[in-house]
């Protein structure tokens, strides 16, 4: 994973203030999802909890005690927690854990519901950018929207960026510098990059802080992308994003 080197604006090596607990019916599933999410966001504390043990043997299910322990470890580490489950009963287990926690702890935990793998990745990337609890939870929940249809590269035009309407709102066109296009890993690099700026950045009108909105652009290598930004750091953010896209987002 090259993302750690590419992170700009984030504090590399610092653990994000929001951690994740991924709860699945099988430990392999939980660990696998955690690995995928960690690859995108190495600085986020992610706990994988899966399976249900009877007499030392794993069977399919979720275990309230293990989930409670994992959530408590995150809270004790000073991190707020987003819990994601793979199937209904994992979500029920997470809800019960909320009920078992002290109110002061429960107030720092969210169980947003959302697709397991996509939600984990979206939440991890958002958390890596230093986002707060509700924002990370929303990222997991909103990850379901990626099945609502893909945007196409080039769909966003300069007109959509509404020249001059908001101060600092200018768009710049840039050619995507890697060969494989804006797939998950480079999208995550980009999302983490913009999180470091006090600015709202869009790429072909897609919000750049959302790894899935970026992936929905389905931009191939060499695609021409329109970058716009508004906010106090708009200029610096846009320049950083343009430079990162041109250089291939850590890929060739």
């Amino acid at each position: 994973m090259t993302g750690g080197d590419v992170t700009v604006g984030g504090d590399v090596g610092r653990v994000a203030p929001v951690g994740l607990v991924l709860v699945a019916h099988a430990s392999e599933l939980a660990r696998g999802a955690a690995s995928v999410a960690r690859q995108m966001a190495p600085d986020v504390a992610i706990e994988a909890v899966g399976g249900f043990w009877v007499d030392g043997l794993e069977s399919l299910g979720t275990d309230v005690d293990s989930v409670l322990a994992a959530v408590s470890r995150q809270l004790d580490g000073g991190r707020d927690v987003v819990v994601l489950g793979d199937l209904g009963s994992a979500v029920l287990t997470a809800g019960l854990v909320l009920e078992l926690l002290e109110p002061s702890g429960a107030a720092r935990v969210r169980v947003p519901g959302g697709p397991f793998v996509e939600g984990a990745v979206a939440a991890a990337v958002r958390a890596a950018g230093g986002a707060g609890l509700d924002e990370v939870a929303a990222a997991a929940h909103d990850a379901a929207s990626q099945w609502n249809g893909a945007r196409t590269a080039g769909e966003g035009t300069g007109a959509e960026v509404s020249d001059g309407e908001i101060p600092g709102d200018e768009s710049v066109r840039v050619t995507l510098g890697n060969t494989t296009g804006l797939h998950a890993r480079p999208a995550a690099v980009l999302a983490r990059l913009v999180a470091g700026f006090d600015a709202k950045v869009t790429v072909n009108a897609a919000p750049a802080e959302s790894v899935f909105e970026l992936m929905k652009l389905a931009a191939d290598g060499g695609a021409e992308l329109e970058v716009a930004a508004v906010g106090p750091d708009a200029t610096q953010a846009r320049e950083a994003v343009v430079a990162a896209i041109a250089s291939g987002l850590g890929e060739r």
């Binding site: 249900f52 309230v64 009963s89 809800g95």
Partner: protein
């Protein structure tokens, strides 16, 4: 019979009888679950309630309050029942324990207990009546209990009404289409099979009634 209140001894006996009843219907519950779920409901619950009994047996002193017994049941079920029924029964008994911090329960206390279970299951699962879940047994049970208690019935008669209503509610789930849990993936194909969670709920309440009848015999 009318003077009987339900004590901590009743609560412990309720758990014992539930363990026996669920174990006796283990295959039947798992068979229902095999048709519309993952087929382990009977095994999971039998294991869970056996663990509850073992936990109660291992306590050096009998608990002081009815709610203490139910809290032991709640935490043990959470840790020993996999699947959705662990958190659902865990929450039901956790809420019931909070609502029963008393030495003994009268008829109204039984109603409060059942309503707490109902509320717990509803909050945890987010289902509504008619969704083909255990709520379709808890809801009519709590309703029947409140109705009968308002007429001045004894705790045992309140539980009898609740158990019958839960059984009737379970039978009716066979006509329903599942919209919650893994059974919902079957859609219309779930029609014709009763909900296993409702079926086990009916057994749990039946055991509560059996224990209340036994308590009345001892008192007589």
């Amino acid at each position: 019979m009318e003077t009987v209140v339900l004590s901590v001894t009743w609560a412990i006996d309720w758990m014992r009888r539930t363990a026996v009843l669920v174990a006796a219907h283990r295959s039947e519950l798992s068979e229902l679950d095999r048709k519309i779920g993952d087929g382990d409901h009977g095994e999971n619950l039998a294991r869970g309630f056996a663990a509850v009994v073992a936990k109660l047996d291992a306590q050096p002193q009998p608990p002081a309050l009815v709610g203490d017994v139910l809290r032991t049941a709640a935490t043990t079920l959470m840790s020993t029942v996999g699947g959705a029924s662990g958190p659902l029964y865990g929450t039901a008994f956790l809420r019931a324990s909070r609502a029963s911090s008393r030495v003994e329960l009268d008829a109204q206390g039984v109603v409060v207990l059942l309503e707490a279970c109902l509320e717990g299951v509803r909050d945890r699962g987010g289902a509504q009546v008619g969704d083909k879940t255990m709520l379709d047994a808890w809801a009519p049970a709590a309703e029947a209990a409140a109705r009968v208690a308002a007429q001045g019935a004894s705790p045992a008669d309140v539980l009898r009404a609740a158990a019958l209503a839960a059984r009737e509610g379970t039978a009716q789930t066979a006509q329903l289409t599942a919209v919650r849990g893994r059974a919902s993936f079957l859609g219309e194909a779930s029609v014709g099979v009763a909900d296993p969670g409702a079926a086990s709920t009916a057994l749990v309440i039946e055991a509560a009634h059996d224990a209340a009848v036994a308590a009345g015999r001892w008192a007589a």
